[in-house]
């Protein structure tokens, strides 16, 4: 699997434009637009987490929604059952996701291609099945009544859609910054090298398994953050969030955006979510169109929208 050209400068430029657009639409939009912006920001965080392990380490996960679920359910349980403030629940959820992934990663990160995909799919489905029947986690009904964090002591009421959207955008910027930093650091470059040629990284003395396990764990922590924000946005969590199709949609987003570009994941999440929403308002067979569009991207534009932007930039200087 190829990633897009490594280009930190373009990555930052696209990120700045995207965040600016999100901020502008958030300021001038109505209630629904602001909710929608928050959704895009959260989906983007999830897409960044998937993009990171796919492009840095070559780990394509069809079970990553499990970590979205772990973040979401942890936040719900910690804040409702244990009375931990939602803001701190978010941090604890990230740590829980990170640690679970470190344990799982120890056993699975060295699996190649299809085996890694299928094992993550199996793990994700096992988790989904457990969540669906677990009384503690509300079974198929899920858990309602999840509160948003209270930041009134610094003058922010996160129950305001405008403020919560900014809060989500803030976390998106943090996630982007964190992953962009790691991508450029020796660990990230080694992970990129592992995707390209694992045996050569071993031959030069690289700690292949450790690098991949760390990446898997970091990615899971970020997916858990997205899950935590998701339940705070909606106020409830249902098992549907942990279904493998959610991971599949995440992969579609990063392919559309351009694998390995970080900001391409945000672009892909934004475009796919907007198209999904707009099309579903117009026609009932919108999934057919999405599927067809995805096939076109894979056939003719493997470096996604990132590649398109790169070509346009080259053409017009």
């Amino acid at each position: 699997m190829r990633a897009v050209n490594y280009n930190p400068k373009l990555r930052l430029q696209i990120m700045v434009i995207l965040v600016s657009l999100l901020v502008i639409f958030n300021i001038f939009g109505g209630y629904f637009t602001r909710f929608f912006i928050a959704e895009i920001a959260i989906l983007s965080i999830f897409a960044i987490s998937l993009d990171f392990i796919a492009s840095r380490g070559g780990m394509v996960s069809l079970g990553h929604a499990m970590f979205l679920g772990i973040g979401a359910y942890s936040t719900a349980i910690l804040s409702i059952n244990y009375g931990i403030p939602p803001f701190y629940s978010t941090f604890l959820s990230i740590i829980i996701g990170l640690l679970i992934a470190l344990f799982i990663g120890y056993f699975i990160v060295l699996l190649d291609g299809i085996f890694f995909i299928m094992v993550t799919l199996a793990l994700g489905e096992m988790f989904h099945a457990w969540v669906f029947t677990s009384e503690l986690l509300g079974g198929s009904d899920g858990i309602p009544g999840i509160m948003r964090p209270s930041l009134t002591f610094i003058g922010f009421d996160l129950n305001e859609p405008l403020v919560f959207s900014f809060y989500s955008i803030f976390w998106l910027i943090i996630a982007y910054y964190f992953i962009a930093k790691i991508t450029d650091a020796p660990l990230g470059r080694n992970l990129d090298a592992i995707r390209q040629n694992t045996s050569r990284v071993s031959a030069i003395g690289g700690y292949t398994k450790a690098y991949k396990a760390i990446a898997f764990s970091i990615s899971a922590g970020i997916a858990s953050l997205a899950g935590s924000l998701y339940v705070q946005l909606n106020g409830f969590i249902s098992p549907e969030l942990t279904h493998w199709t959610v991971s599949g949609e995440g992969l579609i987003m990063i392919i559309v955006g351009g694998i390995g570009s970080v900001s391409g994941a945000i672009l892909g999440a934004s475009v796919v979510h907007i198209i999904q929403h707009e099309l579903s308002n117009i026609i009932s067979w919108w999934m057919f169109i999405i599927g067809f569009g995805f096939i076109l991207v894979v056939l003719f534009m493997q470096d996604g929208l990132w590649g398109l932007i790169e070509r346009i930039k080259k053409k017009f200087g």
Partner: protein, 244 residues
């Protein structure tokens, strides 16, 4: 540097690929391992580098039993290798490939936040190696766009970037034109001043040009050991290679 290979044997099913091979290298030298196709050269190379494990025998490096060491662990001990088929990071530039290859030596590979390109000592090291292997004009070129001969040079560069104690070269001239072969021989000769080298090769001329000591394998057995001139004169070697 001391490498000792004691009574190494390896078989696949009923086929004995290697039988009681003994090799000792305890000084800076260039050892050649030759033999016709199926002699067991590549298997021996893979056993020394840790890619596969022998059935019997012992591999010792600097008096340490490394039988159970993986490729990664052997590399960290100072055993580096280049592959018969180019094994590069095709989407990376020459400079970045060399920087990455030395990031383990400088113990910065777990660094999460400082960009690799801001490590000046690693950049300097990469540029020095690029000069050593004749790729200083291609530093920013992606590996996939290099000509085959230049890719072979980069293959060597990646192997030496971690300043190994022992360099294992598997058919370094494989697939090269006569002119490219000449260049790579020159390069390996230059490297042999700084590194202990073991070359596995089927091209006798390459080995005669480079090795101080040659081990000749035939059907899994070590049949001759000696200097290039002794090997040249050996009737046994001529028989193995030329069938006369």
């Amino acid at each position: 540097m001391k490498l000792e290979i004691n009574n190494i044997s390896k078989s696949y099913g009923s086929v004995n690929v290697l039988e009681n091979i003994n090799i000792l290298s305890d000084k800076k030298e260039c050892i050649g391992i030759i033999g016709p196709n199926g002699a067991g050269k590549s298997t021996l190379f893979k056993i020394i580098s840790g890619i596969i494990k022998q059935d019997n025998g012992l591999v010792e490096f600097n008096n340490k039993n490394i039988n159970n060491y993986s490729v990664e662990q052997r590399s960290r001990l100072g055993i580096s290798q280049s592959f018969q088929k180019n094994s590069l990071f095709l989407e990376m530039s020459v400079k970045e490939s060399l920087m990455l290859a030395s990031s383990h030596k400088y113990k910065i590979s777990f660094n999460l936040f400082k960009p690799l390109i801001t490590n000046n000592f690693i950049i300097k090291n990469a540029i020095k190696i690029a000069k050593d292997i004749g790729l200083e004009d291609y530093l920013e070129v992606k590996s996939e766009f290099l000509a085959y001969g230049l890719q072979r040079q980069l293959e060597l560069g990646i192997a030496i970037a971690s300043s190994p104690k022992l360099l294992l070269l598997d058919e370094p001239t494989a697939g090269m034109s006569p002119a490219e072969t000449k260049d790579i021989i020159k390069l390996i000769k230059k490297l042999s001043k700084d590194y202990s080298i073991i070359i596995v090769e089927h091209d006798m001329e390459v080995i005669y040009n480079l090795a101080n000591n040659i081990y000749v394998l035939d059907r899994g057995k070590l049949v001759f050991e000696g200097s290039p001139s002794a090997v040249k004169k050996s009737k046994l070697v001529q028989k193995i290679y030329l069938g006369i």
